[in-house]
Symmetry: C2
Subunit: 236 residues, 2 copies
């Protein structure tokens, strides 16, 4: 079966969330005369991401858009970093929360996606929402053909419904879809529903001390150095 669409995880796989979040935390702290460790703040904020989505995945909470989960987590991280969330204006909170829309692409992402787009549908299959993905794409110059946000399926990966929804939306068989991610767990779930799989390591996603997803943990259909390499491997 020929691959008709390559769908990408975004945070970490296509864009560098840690640097972007850290940059805006630094700006926020400077404006307010606060002393914050921006890199640690970014990691701590991100650490609350999976637990928040897990509440939705487990059914203990109804679906909430990721922007809202991010905002709740932001308030908690501010408190943990000794900044009372109540001392920050709603406008400042909204601005800082928007940092997840203002993330730079990894250096190879735009070139790789552009090459892939010449011969296949190239889309985002992300736990971000559609509006977040559209703004992120404009900020980083990502040439998506389609963005499949979690607010469409109302399911967070690795919930299998998120992957199946994307295949149905694109009118494709699962085997015609290739999922690309820097996270083995994403590919485990994608393979489970019948997608093909491509692993791209992003060994600096969590910074120099990263201890996870440094290598493929299964016999994924493709393992590529980066998105340019993936485009080469998929060339006819």
């Amino acid at each position: 079966m020929v691959t008709q669409a390559v769908l990408f995880d975004t945070f970490g796989t296509v864009v560098d969330w840690r640097s972007g979040v850290s940059r805006d935390v630094q700006t926020f702290a400077s404006r307010r005369g606060l002393t914050l460790d921006p890199d640690q703040f970014a990691l701590d904020w991100r650490a609350r991401y999976q637990p928040a989505m897990e509440q939705v995945r487990s059914g203990s909470r109804a679906f909430e858009p990721l922007d809202r989960l991010h905002l709740e987590n932001l308030r908690a991280v501010l408190e943990a970093h000794q900044v009372p969330a109540g001392s920050v204006s709603e406008a400042d909170l909204a601005w800082l929360n928007g940092c997840w829309h203002r993330l730079e692409a990894w250096p190879d992402s735009v070139v790789g996606l552009t090459a892939l787009r010449e011969r296949t549908i190239v889309g985002a299959l992300s736990n971000a929402g559609v509006s977040m993905l559209v703004r992120m794409a404009k900020f980083a110059g990502l040439p998506w053909d389609v963005v499949v946000g979690s607010d469409l399926s109302r399911a967070y990966k690795p919930d299998p419904r998120a992957y199946r929804f994307a295949a149905v939306l694109l009118d494709l068989e699962p085997s015609e879809v290739l999922m690309c991610a820097a996270h083995n767990s994403d590919l485990v779930a994608a393979r489970e529903v019948g997608f093909r799989t491509a692993f791209v390591p992003r060994s600096l996603e969590y910074g120099p001390g990263q201890d996870r997803d440094l290598a493929p943990e299964a016999d994924w259909d493709f393992v590529a150095r980066d998105l340019v390499d993936l485009a080469s491997q998929l060339a006819p």
Copy 2:
């Protein structure tokens, strides 16, 4: 309020459905040695479009994707043109039905959308489905930031739910959205939900004998010659 997104009707406004459908009907007829009037066939097929969607809009029928409505209508038009639909293979029917994914843009569309995309979100808000819109965009080179297909809202324009759904999806107030269409009725509905409006005449959409939508029928916020002109009018 500043326009944050320009959303476009597609069939007729951005792409020339009549020529594309006629071209593939001609190919179909030639391959099978049939005598068909491709232009008339295209018009007759399109004439069944609004009545089919109206069944969904009125609630007399559950939502069906546009590809399916097109296929039902194709069978009926074949019969009306003295081609028993049962004499055509499913593969040939599917191929011909796919002509709605293979439509050329009007000459100004890609240039105009590309210019607009420099400073705003540019999206399709169409009665087509997402997969149809994605394939159409790749065929015609349309640089959408986002495609809002009818299968997402499960509502066919001018049902107000289709417009409201798009604004919510993009996390925008209705007044931040500009709807562009070659059809006054689309703009009536868009204005009703609070969108701004732009009319672009496409006086050859239905061929040389066109008698509708030759001019704006209300004081739309913008009236432009074509999409390049619209981009100029929206330039800062």
